[in-house]
Symmetry: C2
Subunit: 441 residues, 2 copies
């Protein structure tokens, strides 16, 4: 029996009652056993971290990231989606070997954990996905990962990323066999067909069947860009989500990034199937894609989570930036009461947990849930005076305010220091591998 | 003779050639004397700060802030402009005494300097503006400040803020006499009629005359909100900027916050008069005001600067957040090449300097300009790998990456520590005064 105690914070539980209480959060063997009050350790094997001056809250969940892309940060600015993919990101991904992928994933996970993101839904690249799982295992982050599936005969796909339908399914299945449930359940698999245009119908339909049979998730992109939508319409004679629905890909275990340009029928499909929309506001701005109608989708009963997408389209992997932007970006369109702090915070925690298929285990600080807990220092001048902790977290806090982070009851960041990876070494390795990879292109 | 040397950084000069060079930046008696290479101190009175691993750049200029509002951070969420003013911000401002205003301004200036903002254009509240000047003098920030002028017989203006035309002008003149050019020119005055609706025509016309006679600036708001514009149209039978132009308020010494909803004639007026638009993207989102057409205005020849506005409508005073948002927010409307990193950075430095009437003295690192210099640590994992320093600064850097800050050649932040104010005491005082002020309301 091992216990971890966050001592003496202001606890923003994000539980069903959205309670804010004072005191300790205690985690025993990975499971939350106390929220609020003063906790007395049950045995002798315990660790106490000081959370005074902190808001203690569930870790942020980013339900759409590409940790494999991190070496391309700053390399693909000022492009719209299809140019961004064809000119930089696909050639870059095609040039990644396992060592470079390890460097990219470790760099991403260092940034994510230091910034208070405890769980991710991560689309890797086509090959070497075991390197991403291994990085996640070492870093201590909770990760649902899938290899990108790209079996379409599209000449824009570089040789290093091309694969046959059979090989794509076989490599995905092997990864799911090896990693789904690994690290005591902290690592999980999700099939990741990249987007409709890079996949055959056969692959998409088979992904729907296999994910259902295994009970694992599906992670894809759709309706991010008008050029993409026009190409989908030319191929199928229908819109993106209708095509995905007809191929059996939608459902409560499916998360779809972006969903910016939707028609009424597509919104209906998302709501009735329980499919999760993965909102990436910075990325959607930077690629000039548009602004997804998130408050309107929530009103229609669609499940929503957030994510930073990849470093070359953001250029951060900062859950607090995405949280703030999710709260701000929709107000001019919908009104000043759209996405109030409490709702935005729930999307970034509970919404992400649900998108990972872990809605009953993550996303709130509540006895019985897994111990993914962060302490955010709210003593800085940029937060003062703190009269409303929800407002402070959503509108004013920064990733750099994150002081302690635990995943599954294991402390991975203490006093702003990552305990699982050597950040300086990871940052150096990233520079070395980035230089090597881009020199090849 | 006293020298300050930022040693061994990557220097993003933002000069006319937009040069990026390696080496030292040296400031002697407040004036930049060397940019790049290795600098040998000219005498014995010098200070060296380590800028290795840093980008050294001109300090950010925020040309629209309200440091007086900082105690109301988190107190006025989820309201549009006129409700926000009438229900919270004006009653709050009306309840401020000099001690509370000191606490608010010191808190703001601590956040601003620690986040790399070296110069501000600050609209104070109606009274006690000397407390804001005194805080600026102590904090070391470069500040152009004006008392808010509100002489309109508007029942929404609380008693504590009401003033006669004559009293408003007299108090403004006295402040300008006392403070314009103080602290060796670091402090300056700008007349600050709040916005058309809170001012009489007589006041606005007199402000235009007096500012021209003194050669000082004018700082106001316009065209932020459709309700405001409708009220202006009802009073004048014309639009905001046409009204301001006819009253003699526009011109190259005038900065106007927001300018979101403009017609063709107003854009023409801004361009031909050389009036500065002060873009506040976070505030414009949070108050559901809209998005100003900044790239389009720049294309038309309008001068643009940025600002965080006030803590209750942002909720930060973070120049890096506003810089990033300025670069991102316009791309969905205009295209992915809108506001590239170099242009956004120039707006946040040179554009701000010009709005302060200091376009030849600030905004670039160039021999002969004033020594407002910051060093931004780019070794963090969230910035790696840094291949393009401009991209890193605009799309990925955070206020918390700011390591050293100098204003007028004086080091005010060293290794992330503010040297001029006791931040913990300032933060405590802010909480105490905020509690007292809101208890009265």
């Amino acid at each position: 029996m091992s216990e971890l105690i966050f001592r003496g914070g202001t606890i923003v539980t994000v539980d069903d009652g959205r309670r804010v209480v004072a005191g300790d959060v205690a985690v025993r063997d990975g499971v939350i056993v106390a929220v609020g009050g003063t906790y007395t350790p049950a045995g002798h094997d315990y660790q106490i971290v000081d959370a005074s001056g902190c808001v203690v809250m569930p870790g942020l969940v980013q339900a759409h990231v590409h940790t494999c892309q991190t070496l391309a940060r700053g390399k693909a600015d000022d492009r719209e989606l299809l140019d961004w993919l064809h000119q930089v990101v696909w050639p870059y991904e095609g040039a990644l070997d396992a060592a470079a992928l390890t460097a990219a994933a470790e760099l991403a996970m260092a940034e994510l954990l230091l910034g208070g993101t405890t769980a991710i839904l991560d689309m890797a690249t086509v090959h070497h996905t075991e390197a991403v799982f291994a990085a996640a295992e070492r870093s201590g982050i909770r990760a649902t990962i899938g290899k990108a599936m790209m079996d379409a005969p599209d000449p824009a796909i570089p040789p290093g990323l091309r694969e046959s339908t059979a090989a794509s399914l076989a490599e995905s299945d092997a990864l799911a066999d090896r990693w789904h449930g690994a690290a005591d359940g902290r690592l999980r698999y999700a099939y990741a067909p990249r987007f409709v245009l890079s996949c055959t119908d056969e692959l998409l339909a088979e992904v729907g069947r296999r994910a259902a049979a295994r009970g694992v998730g599906i992670h894809t992109h759709a309706s991010e860009n008008k050029g993409e939508i026009a190409a989908v319409a030319a191929r199928f004679g229908k819109r993106n989500l209708a095509a995905l629905a007809d191929l059996g890909v939608l459902g409560p275990r499916t998360g779809i990034a972006h969903c910016i340009h939707l028609d009424e029928h597509e919104i209906e499909l998302l709501a009735t199937t329980g499919t999760h929309v993965l909102h990436c506001p910075s990325s959607n701005l930077k690629l000039a894609s548009g602004v997804a109608a998130i408050p309107e989708l929530i009103d229609r009963g669609v499940a929503v989570a957030i994510g930073a997408d990849g470093a070359p389209c953001n250029n951060n992997l900062d859950g607090f930036l995405e949280l703030r932007l999710t709260a701000l970006l929709h107000k001019p369109r919908v009104g000043p009461k759209a996405m109030p702090a409490a709702q935005a915070l729930a999307v970034a925690t509970r919404g992400g947990a649900a998108a990972l298929g872990l809605g009953d285990q993550l996303g709130a600080l509540e006895v019985g849930r897994r111990g993914d807990v962060i302490a955010v220092d709210v003593t800085g001048p940029h937060l003062a005076p703190v009269t409303n902790p929800l407002s402070a977290l959503v509108y004013a806090a920064r990733a750099s305010d994150v002081r302690h982070v635990a995943v599954d009851g294991r402390l991975v960041v203490r006093d702003r220091e990552l305990l699982t990876l050597d950040v300086a070494a990871v940052t150096r390795a990233a520079a070395t591998h980035a230089h090597r990879v881009f020199a090849q292109l």
